[in-house]
């Protein structure tokens, strides 16, 4: 008996029982479809996280007071904050870098009838380069404004949209906290990043924020951008030893500050999303397994239903192997068809979800191949037992079966 004939026979049996075949394959369709969607979503989530981190600025280091925790946790212990002298020291001692201090506070911002609480970042002109967030129009801070802590501000596009309602922001005066502040520029539009709306922010000279808004001469975060690619590790080491020295930390004591690379953050986030991907994939795989059991169930029913047919086939000279193959090929064909349909639905589903959630739509051939072969394997695995049962029927009993 040729392979083509075996396959045709199986295919005809499937077509003859369309509804039953569809129900059988449904488990596999849903299983493969959900594996494909879940794993792909996990991967594109990972990708969108890494993309976002790249958009924050590459070769970027964060220097913060306190003790770093593993993962994404924040700062726990209260440590002495940095001062502008620390920033100047880093700028002076460590070569090949750009440094921007930052002090962020939430302030009530009022313009006309509109008022809103918005994070205000005190910094200097290096911020635009280091955080990869430049001025779209207007100008940067002037040196005199920086050194005097003048009430000049550069605002995010969200403010322009929400508070100015089409009025010209440049040259206008905003009230930030209790300070009247002149708008000198508007930032580029950046959108959401790491759960923050980067367009809803105001930049002011750091001295202005220190004196007029916070009332302390602290620097909360120091952003450092390494100008040479791949030098972040050495820059990190240099900053660490410099700050240890400046903060008089004993040689065996732990740092009371930490330096974080965006790479670190990216890795931490990626490992989280990867765990999630594996988890989702595993859940989907369980549904694929359940689909396989569904195939076995229906095939067993089908064997019982067709005992007489099997008897006829045995009587006219089908060998054990022929009947075994017939049923095995039938279940494999069903699961393969289910796998193909599941793949298509999975890809469509992934596309729908990623476009809705504004995530990158990427397809991984490895995932699709794996899902497909898993489906075929399930066809073999769960088709074998019913097929064996059919093939070992006694011809006389099978023929007598009503």
């Amino acid at each position: 008996m040729s392979w083509l004939d075996t396959f045709l026979m199986a295919f005809q049996a499937i077509v003859r029982n369309k509804l039953r075949s569809l129900l059988t394959a449904l488990g596999i369709i849903i299983g493969v479809g959900s594996v494909v969607v879940m794993v792909h979503l996990g991967q594109s989530a990972t990708r969108s996280v890494t993309d976002e981190i790249a958009s924050i600025g590459s070769n970027l280091l964060f220097v913060m007071p306190g003790t770093a925790q593993r993962g994404l946790g924040g700062v726990r212990s209260i440590a002495r904050p940095f001062e502008l002298e620390d920033v100047q020291a880093i700028e002076r001692e460590v070569p090949g870098i750009l440094v921007a201090p930052a002090l962020t506070t939430n302030a009530t911002v009022v313009f006309g009838n509109a008022n809103e609480t918005i994070p205000v970042v005190g910094t200097n002109n290096n911020y635009f380069v280091v955080r990869n967030h430049g001025v779209a129009y207007g100008r940067e801070f002037e040196d005199s404004e920086l050194s005097a802590g003048a009430a000049a501000c550069i605002i995010g596009t969200a403010l322009v949209d929400e508070m100015y309602l089409g009025q010209e922001p440049l040259g206008s005066t905003l009230r930030v906290g209790r300070t009247a502040c002149r708008v000198i520029g508007v930032l580029e539009e950046k959108g959401q990043s790491m759960g923050q709306d980067r367009d809803k922010t105001i930049l002011m000279p750091i001295k202005a924020v220190q004196r007029r808004l916070v009332g302390k001469l602290d620097v909360q975060t120091i952003y450092v951008s390494a100008l040479i690619d791949g030098s972040t590790r050495t820059v990190q080491k240099d900053i660490e030893s410099l700050l240890r020295q400046r903060r008089s930390i004993a040689s065996r004591a732990d740092d009371d500050f930490y330096v974080r690379d965006t790479q670190d953050i990216a890795e931490a986030l990626a490992s989280t999303t990867n765990t999630l991907t594996v988890l989702l994939g595993a859940i989907a795989a369980v549904s694929l397994l359940v689909g396989g059991i569904g195939i076995m169930n229906i095939m067993l029913v089908s064997v019982t239903e067709r005992i007489r047919e099997i008897g006829i086939r045995l009587a006219i000279g089908a060998r054990t192997r022929d009947v075994l193959l017939q049923f095995l090929v039938e279940s494999i064909t069903l699961s393969t068809l289910g796998g193909i349909i599941g793949l298509i639905l999975g890809v469509v589903g992934t596309w729908l979800v990623t476009t809705r959630m504004k995530m990158p739509f990427l397809l991984s051939p490895a995932v699709m191949l794996m899902g497909f072969f898993f489906a075929v394997a399930i066809g073999v695995l769960f088709g074998y037992f019913p097929a064996r049962k059919a093939a070992h029927l006694n011809p006389v009993d099978a023929l007598r079966h009503e």
Partner: protein
Amino acid sequence: MRGIYKIYGAGAAEVRALDGVDLTIRDGEFVAIMGPSGSGKSTCMNIIGCLDVPTAGEYLFRGVDVARLDRDELALLRRHFMGFIFQSFNLLPRVTALANVELPLIYDGVKRSTRRARASEALRMVGLAGRESATPNQLSGGQQQRVAIARALVTEPPILLADEPTGNLDTAMSDGIMVQLEQIRIERGITIIMVTHEPPIARYAERVLYFVDGKLEKDGPPAEVLS
């Protein structure tokens, strides 16, 4: 065939479907097996047709001891030497007449085009040319049995085994089928072994075996056995 026993169950529940049957059937014979229900006539035919194996005794098929053959060898033997027809026709439902007749050829690995031609030829032989694409439920009982005959003979086996071939047919159709079988037998010189409980049908045979309680009671020409 010598000292054949077929025993179902054991101990007190033991049923001797065949109880020491000695029998020789020669090529080209037309044998009818008769007897009351439960006399072992179907069991005897199943053993002759290698669908079943005897519990004890020796069955030599053309000199080969069938007891020594395994399941697949028996299947091959059936494929090449036996054609079966049944009381209930046993055609595959929802499959065309042509495909039903093709089935044994598929298992024999015959090429598709040859298969088609041979199946059509077999259908023509039983007078069903033009009904190739009909499914069993579109055919009358007599036509279905003819399709079954075509299927049994498409591989050109030397032996045709018929288990009550006319049991589900009316007298006119029965006679039609019997005339057909007789004609094919003469044309091809095949052996026909037929189980029946209708004496008029048995009269078509040359030799009648009469079973009672698993034992072969009478063996001879119909005129003698049926009187």
